[in-house]
Structures are given as C-alpha cells and as structure tokens.
Amino acid sequence: MRGVTALLGPLKYLLLAAALAYPLTPVSDVYVLHVVVLVMVYMVLAMGLNILPGFCGLLDLGYVGFYGIGAYTAGLLTLNYDLSFWIIVPLAVLNGALWGIVLGAPTLRLVGDYFAIVTFGFSELVVLFLTNEIWLTRGPLGLPGIAPVSLDLSWLSRLLNPEWDWRYVFSGEEPYYYLGMAMVFMVYVVLRRVEDSRLGRAWLAIREDPMAAASTGVNLFAYKVIAFAVSTGIGALAGCFYARWAMFLSPDMFKFWESFLVLCMVVLGGLGNIRGALIGAVVLISLGEVLRVALPKFGLPAETRFLVYGLIMVLIMRFRPGGFFTAVAESTLASPLIIDLRRKLAARKTG
C-alpha cells in the first residue's frame, strides 16, 4: 500500500503535465476537449453544492437555480452591455450569492427536508421566470450569440510597445480548456483552505450536531447563511463560465434534472469530500458519452442510453451507498482536528 502511495506522488504530476499538454498534442480532438470542459463546469458545480449537504448537512435540491442566475447574468450583461468576461465574473458571482442570501435568510431556519423542498420550489420559480419574462431573457427563444471570452491586454501593450496588439478572442475548445482548468483549480484550492479554516470547522460542527455546535458558541444562522452564499456564488461562477463558453442559453438548460445530476455527483463521490465531487463529475458526465458509443457495440439501440444510465446509478448506490470515496471522507474525519472537535462536542453534550 505504501509503495502505491509513494508512486502516486510523481504519477500525479505526470498526469497533470499530460493534462496540460493534451490540447497541444496531435491526438487532441475537439470532442474530447468539449466533454472535458463540460466536466470542468460540473466539477465546479459539484464542489459548490458539496458545501451544503457535505459540509453543513443541508440538502439543497435547487442548486441549478443559482447556476441559471449566474449564466443569465453573464449572458445578459454580455449581450446588452458588452462587458468583459473578467468584469462579469465578480458581478455574476455576487448576484448568485445575493440571491442565495435572499432565499437563505428566511429558509435556513427550516428543519429537515423542508429546506430541501423550498430550494426545489425556488429553482422551479427561477426557470419559470427565465421562461416567461421574455422582455428580459427572450424566454424560450433563448439567448444566442453571446460573445466568447476575450483577453484584452492592450493597456499593457500600450505601456510597453504600442506596436503590439494584445487582444485575444477565445475560439475553439482549447482556450476554454485552460480557463476551465484554472477555474477548477482555484475553486478547489479555496475550498480546501476553507475546509481547514474556522469557517469550515464551524460548518462540520453544524453537520455533526447543530445543537452542540450552537452550545459551543457557533452562530448557526450566520454560518449557514455564509455557507449558502459561498455555495450559490460558486454555482453562479460555473454558470457565468458556461454562458461565455456555450455562447447560447435557454431556460431548458436549468431544469430540475440538473440539480439532481449535480447532487448525484456529490453523493457518488462521497458527501463532504471535495475530491469525491470532482470524480463524481467525471463519472456522471463521461458515463453518458461512453454509453453513447458503447451501447451500439452491444447491439442496443440509442434509445436504451438512459435506461442503462439509471440502472448504473441504482447499482452504484446499491453497492457503494456512501459513494466512491467513503474511505477518503472518513480520512478527512480522521484528521486530528476533527477528532478533537468531535471529542469536545461530545464532552459538551454530555456535560
């Protein structure tokens, strides 16, 4: 076991190097790149959602609503005001977080599944709003022709050498591949830091035992609202990226099913495990593509794709009810910090 772990270190960097170099190699192709970028979008979504059920023990069934808010914020700002992607990102994230607080403030006091149900209702209302407010969103006609991301460094070139024209408009999948990678990396690092911070520990305490957490001085409500805002902000970030990458939005993209898909990724990976969420996104997105190719090879028609998809989901849960990475999740719980926290909580509870 130790040998394998030792091997994993260098292997990890090798894989990373390979991933970075992949679009430049001759074997790279637009389809694989596209699917990988899509996986990255879902990785961000899964990591963002993970905060609620994974860290705080709150079941959110309406995550796609915030993804939609982020995407439409970005799409509309691009189409109407032609703002740069780099300005839109913070705006979209703030808008997502803002709506998170608006929804979260009155509902986070709810207990159990009622919270889940309110989030579900909210996401359905978001879709209805996007569908029906045609003056703003063009409704079901969709938002086509959203400009791609562009990088304008002309101010820099003016400073250095006016001859240079440093403007780069993203085209094709390759630049998005790198941008997506940067986004996933950034969110991952931030969440890992948060996980180990005071904030993260407060969230875990809330998940483990809200009552005890409250009695140790954790302001349940404030920490839950923060969790909700961070989570919805990350959802909006993914939406923002998606809008400028896909260049087309329609309300159909933000149906209830998407919330489920992201939730499945989180559960599949192992609740509360950031790396698990990443793997969950890889598995569920590529599964659909793999089945597309694999099923005809077994003589099954294209119509059976989701039959098998559903079945595989059931089977995974049947044999790995805690997700793939229960082991890693437990190891997170086995960290001295958390053991210490649990011990303190237990002491408070009994004492």
């Binding site: 059920p53 039959l307 049947r318």
Partner: protein, 295 residues
Amino acid sequence: MLEQQLVNGLTLGLIYALIAVGYTMVYGVIELINFAHGEVYMFGAFLCMTFLTVFGAPLIVAVLLSMACCALMGVLLDVVAYRPLRNAPRLAALITAIGMSIFLQNLAMIIWGSRPLPFVKEALPAFFKVTALSFGDVNISWMQMTIYIVAISLMILLNVIITKTRTGTAMRALAQNRVCASLMGINVNRVIAFTFALGSGLGAMAGIMVSMFYNTMYPTMGYNAGVKAFAAAVLGGIGSVPGAMFGGVVLGIAETLGAGYVSSPYRDGVAYAIMILVIILRPSGLLGRAVTEKA
C-alpha cells in the same frame, strides 16, 4: 365562470391528492421522497391500456389488474432498490429513487414507444360523456363524477385502513418510531412493503383516471404529475395522509384559479409559490404535526 373553474380545479385536485398520498405515506414510514412514484402512476395508465387492448379484458378487470400490478411494482421497488439501503445514508436512497425513476421512464419508452397514445375509447361506458349535473353555465360530466366518487371513496377506504386495521396501526407506529415499532413485534419490512403497495395502487388508479379523462398517456407524464403531487404532499404537511388529500385539492384549485385569473404562463409557479409561502410561514404544512430537528 368561477364555478366552472372550481369544478375544474376540484377534478385536478382530487387526482393530485390520490398521487400525493403515495408520497406522503412512504415518507411517513421511511422518510424517503420516492421520486419513482410518478413513474408508477404512468405505468398504471399504460398497463391498463395494455390489458384492454392486448388481452381484451373488460374495463373493471383491467383497472383492478393494473392497480394490482402497480402495487406489486411498488413492493418490488422497495425490496430491490430501497430495502438494501435502509441503514445507508439517507441520500443514497434518494439517488436510488431518482435512478429508478429514470430507468422506469425509459423502460416505458422502450415498451410502448415515446409517442403519446390515446386511451381505449371503446372500453369506456357510453354514459361517461353525458352530463351528470348542470346548473347555470356549469357542467359536470359523468366522467368527472366518476373521478370524484372513485377518488373520495378510495381515500375514505385508505383512512379506514390506516386508522382501523392492525396493519394501519403498525404503519402509524412505524411513522412515529421505527426502532420502537420493531421492538413491539411489528414486522417492519412487511409494513413498509404494504405501504408501498397501497400508495402505488392508488397512484396507478390516478394514472388510469387521468389517461381516461384526458384521453392520452405518454412515458414522461409521471414527471409533471409527480412534482405537483409532491408539492401537494408538502403543502398538506409531508407525512400526513389527510394533509396530502387536503393539499392536493387546495393545489388543484389554486392552480386552476391561478391560470384562469392571474397568469397562464405562471400556472405552475402558483403551486410552487404557495408551497414556499406555506413552508416559511407554517413549516409543518397545513395539517402536518410540528417537527423538531432530528439529531
């Protein structure tokens, strides 16, 4: 016009109520939102149609057979998919429910095709089309009357089962505390299976009546109805059977009035908005008992 809208709303509401009790009973005993329930409802309609056309069964027989098959299907769902996860994290069962829902929907699509099918008109008694009651501008057909009578009597029957029989008592005990119930000698798995059978049978009946009334059935019909009925169950207080019935009727009428007087594009929004408001103002639902956070 208001009276006619109320009649329309009541028809819709009673159908929601029949589906909603399935959600709420299952939730009551195992705290699982059984997302595959909408698919059982859809199978009810298709199975009934199949019995009528392929086996040429008389209507009553086809309806009862279809209900029985769906009850069996509910039990199978529980035994195959949910029972192994009884002690697993709750979300695992929820994901399984979603997986089963996708599976069943696509299974129906492969068996019966994805195009909408009409109900077997020849099998329906001729008097269904005749107006049963008529006052002023308002007309109620015998088909609608049948829906009222069947739905209400089924729900009365259900109440009797829950309150008067031994199994019903066991169900209520289970909803209170599963561990305690099993200590009292209740066969937990059998009671849960019975709950699934009961809810699924009623769901199937709702599916059959909907397909008869609107003369259409298609494999994705379970989604919309399921989501609405789920909202109804929540509205009434999830876990409460009378609440689900009441919630269904309230939701049906609210939706109809919303579409008729407020805004038709936001028709579905009315249901969700009411649901959210009720939860925020009265978290236990209209008829639910107050819940405390479970540790």
